[in-house]
Symmetry: C3
Subunit: 508 residues, 3 copies
Amino acid sequence: MSRHTLPEAVLVLVAIFGWLWPVQARTDKNKAPVSEDSQTCIGCHSQVTPGIVASWRRSMHAHVTPLQAMKKDEMHGGLTSRDVPVSMQGHVVGCAECHTLNPKAHSDTFEHNGFQVHVVVTPKDCATCHKKEVDQFENSVMAKAYVDLMGNPTYTKLVSSVNGMQHWDKGKLTQGTPKNATNEGACLQCHGTKVTVVGTSHRETDMGDMDFPKLTGWPNAGVGRINPDGSTGSCTACHTRHSFSVSEARSPEACERCHKGPDVPAYKVYTVSKHGALYKAHHHDWHMGELPWVAGRDFDAPTCATCHMSGVLDTQGKVLATRTHDVGSRLDTRIFGLPYSHPQPVVADTSRVKNKAGLYLITNLDGTPVKDAVIGRQERKKRRKRMQATCLACHSQSWVQGHFKNLDHMDNWADKMVKTGTTMIAHAWKTGVASPENPFDEYIEKLWVESWLFYANSVRFAAAMAGADYGVFAHGAWYLSRTITQIRDFLDILEQDRARHIGKVISH
Amino acid sequence: MSRHTLPEAVLVLVAIFGWLWPVQARTDKNKAPVSEDSQTCIGCHSQVTPGIVASWRRSMHAHVTPLQAMKKDEMHGGLTSRDVPVSMQGHVVGCAECHTLNPKAHSDTFEHNGFQVHVVVTPKDCATCHKKEVDQFENSVMAKAYVDLMGNPTYTKLVSSVNGMQHWDKGKLTQGTPKNATNEGACLQCHGTKVTVVGTSHRETDMGDMDFPKLTGWPNAGVGRINPDGSTGSCTACHTRHSFSVSEARSPEACERCHKGPDVPAYKVYTVSKHGALYKAHHHDWHMGELPWVAGRDFDAPTCATCHMSGVLDTQGKVLATRTHDVGSRLDTRIFGLPYSHPQPVVADTSRVKNKAGLYLITNLDGTPVKDAVIGRQERKKRRKRMQATCLACHSQSWVQGHFKNLDHMDNWADKMVKTGTTMIAHAWKTGVASPENPFDEYIEKLWVESWLFYANSVRFAAAMAGADYGVFAHGAWYLSRTITQIRDFLDILEQDRARHIGKVISH
Amino acid sequence: MSRHTLPEAVLVLVAIFGWLWPVQARTDKNKAPVSEDSQTCIGCHSQVTPGIVASWRRSMHAHVTPLQAMKKDEMHGGLTSRDVPVSMQGHVVGCAECHTLNPKAHSDTFEHNGFQVHVVVTPKDCATCHKKEVDQFENSVMAKAYVDLMGNPTYTKLVSSVNGMQHWDKGKLTQGTPKNATNEGACLQCHGTKVTVVGTSHRETDMGDMDFPKLTGWPNAGVGRINPDGSTGSCTACHTRHSFSVSEARSPEACERCHKGPDVPAYKVYTVSKHGALYKAHHHDWHMGELPWVAGRDFDAPTCATCHMSGVLDTQGKVLATRTHDVGSRLDTRIFGLPYSHPQPVVADTSRVKNKAGLYLITNLDGTPVKDAVIGRQERKKRRKRMQATCLACHSQSWVQGHFKNLDHMDNWADKMVKTGTTMIAHAWKTGVASPENPFDEYIEKLWVESWLFYANSVRFAAAMAGADYGVFAHGAWYLSRTITQIRDFLDILEQDRARHIGKVISH
């Protein structure tokens, strides 16, 4: 053909490749520089544990260097540490970058093919780049999930009554102190374990003989985990390794893991809320990983993260909510009643707050909060306003006021019902048909626990998110009112049967 | 280059733009004319409530004018009102079109920047364009969800026993009449509230000082809501504002909101049915919003809507099912037993149907339906055939007959089991160990309620949709048979303990 | 225009059609040859049952001939029968190919428009092409789901206590033997029915008068179904007809159908596991139907199938797990306790294994397994290693060891707790306050059943998959410990009330 046709063919190809470009660009990203150390790790581990290597390859960590991320502002995914060590700035965040950080601080550090590697990457490690997130998290109730349970002398009685081995012999039921391993396999799955190095194990591997640290309380991804470097918490509780995905943490399923059971049915309530219905029907068209996250552009209805944690802009670029990793900072009331709802605690570690009855609970048996342990009216107002700012992106002021008025009413209603049950149990303790030594280990006490831990909480969570039947028949008001009549009837039987074994459990 | 190369470049561009066309077409749709009034609304509200504006922008309302929709037939999304006011025909359905309709009929109408706006858009408003849908809905049990509960003197006793505040004092348990606010936060979340204007509230806003109507029972999206314009129902119960999406309403998640609890576990049963398994595995490849909706082209397995409401064609264009918003019209039996299953009621409002025992229930205590309150044999046959027409799109006649034979058997089985429990409770009422004054407020009565409201219903729903364990261990036959033995044992204890408080609740 | 411009236009078109090619290729696939017989079927059935025809058209069966599939290796979707009848090799697998196979073996074969058609396609039919899959399946507990329940004299008492009709008359509660239809509508939904031909039914159809076989126990897709050709099992239990999709069977939702209830909460536990969270957040980007299935390329976290059944390669092409349809072959322990957990049975049919107490249970009342009925230490080690091979694709050796150590501990813990409850029930049987004739029909016995069938199982499943609250408050340790105190208290009441009816159910 004649020579002058060439430019036209080029035009065609340019047009065609224009179409291909986004794919090409994605491929280029994969070429962000990986450090030599991490390349060494990947050399073996792409064979030994190919799954996590593949998962990491798709992560933002594998595509962006700290230097690039430091140039962005927070809402666009910028790092909150502006002083990332220079030696780390120029390559992407690979295996070695995290697993060899602060080697001396980690009691689980071990020599591994010439590297000082540690097993458990902790919030303290993550703070190298994500300082603000870790600071906020460390001051939140999430980070205190271990100590708030295991450091509280009253709650450990609850733990014992659940995990302690029960024996029956000659008409007597006894209950032991639970082993660490049982607690780790039960409550501490969510609350987090205490991970401790207890020795070294020698293993033959495909790559030769090697030594590895032996850990107790491991594996565990509980949010309040006590780590071998002395830090608390686990970022992987929500950002599962090794993709550490923003979109995953924004999905309600990230929260589902620990917030689904009858004690804290937040996820279940969300699924039947209008927000949940919209999420389920449409979220595959939403942009769950977008930075910044824009209401009305990236999503039409909030997930758990949207209201409680995420930074959210409106379509005009106005900040509706500032990102936080302190989940309590937009909450004025703790509707998770123990046994009553109450204003949020002043500090996240409440393990030593004692009520008038001598129990380590933040509310008294009459429902009032323990003095000075909870935030005041001004702080509550401020936090509620912070929460409502997101609501107002879609709902009118009247709508929002009506919703919160209903929440306050149902919260109060549930508290009063709990008080009726508590009065009966206190009566049982007084007359001796039940023993307050461990307030959770007899059958009648367990009915009482269910009345507040399961049913009153379900009523309150349902009110907080318009959760339909979770307020009534699905572990809500129906079960709460039913359990109170059941306690009453059982109390009556017990009182007639004082002389018998019934209702007695011997703790030892 | 030489001049004659131009046409070839044009050819290239045409070819390329052919590819771009669908995107372009979508963009053009956005240019459908928005009325001046709605443009005024959007002027402020894209700043004040950007989320709902964005959500609306993606809706069919924002892209199609009534004039365009009137030209289509119903199966293709055509309007069922052919006499939409001429003034509304030429622009899309925006804010003003709905929120300023019939201003005089709405007691919640208020002056708002020169417009007569009302807060609560109602089925009566929607009927302007969607007349047939609203007519069908208004005659259905859905629209009667409020009155069928709150207008029924027997059910209000059930409501009181759930939501009424209980107090315990000196061994006596008393129960009060629930506040409206408690009912609104509990049962009426699904059944719908009575929305009433109780005054005006003055507010400072970013746009200046304004007055807004003060409403009780708001917010609420319950399906049987009583509205400020005197109409009943809420279209947003299934078509969440402000996208009012067809695909959302066709998703099982739209129904999940109110049909998931133990009293009406339809959604849970669906999830374990074969239909549910196919839906979950494949629905992202289905066309959930397509009009018309073609079995085998747009979906491979039905959702709730497919069988109960949707218009469905087969791939040859034959109508398998005609669209309806009267959810009862394809149902011959109400398997939701109160306490027994029964032929569908003749009219949707059954609040005043009284049985032989003087209770406002549609079945007698022996399981027979109240005379003349339920449809006859011929009508039942007709409705069952209507339902089976959709089944037959995939299943053979023998398959369908076998399935329904099993449904009838299990339905009958559950009814007989319920009768055993009911006989025991009637005995308790007769001997005085329980009081029939409120048949739902004592512990033994609550066990009885659970036997039919939770467990017999679960058995029946599981039979209706091949719902696996929901027929047995997941609140099915296991729990039904267990609860009957529990009632029997407890009855025995009560009879010995007549002289005591046990089993007594004092209503006041 | 000048002639020489033509080739350039061609170039443009070629480039454009290059883009179109994948779509075109898919269309070509539809042109794989359909047999004349199947074309005849489709001729009518695309009108009579268009849904399943459409569903089949999208299946692999409709696009690949056995000849093509025989050329592939197993991991790439190759057939495991290399001797498919020559007459079947050349066309795709349509209606006639399956529904007219082995006509003489099927008692449900009937003359249908000149064909000898049978209704129930069985594993024996599927084995024509998928021999290895069926052989493995037939030896698994899945295939024995019917006989292991209905052939076991102890379990049939459990079935009776659930499905038998209960009557109450003059203070006495009696319980009958359940009808087949009730069992079919309850337990056998999952376990599978016995499908039997009981006659012929004559029907007028749109295509003229026809005869069809009349079947009992039909429809049913239970995994252990007894078929009219004498075979056992149902492939559609997991590969729903008529797409028989690989991706569906790999989805956790395929298992959800039967593994979600409180007795076997595997699916629920999975949803709150880290694996489940990753699946929910990301699976729409995964390749669920890919053959072979490559960890780290096609998926980032396992589904049920990945660990228990699927063939899995790593990204280097190394086989991590060999595909199996014997779900027990990677399991060393049966954590589904009856009432205790135990090493996997030696053979899948355990219906005649009797314990020391004379009950047809594979464990004794003290928790030890019945001698010689379970696999030994070596086999257990081998199976556990097989399972762990998949874990090791992502997790380190220490991680995996820690996880299984915790599983063993919790398994053992749950067994010991069950023993406490069992000791109390054995005491009740001994003193006569309960009757061991049917060990499952009295209220106190039902509490005991729940302690192991629901709560101990939930603890064990949660430990197996890191299932968070399913180990504690969501039917886990909390309920297990609570139920033991409840049994103790109720036992005490019963002992005082020996003379009364309480606790007695009369079986007949």
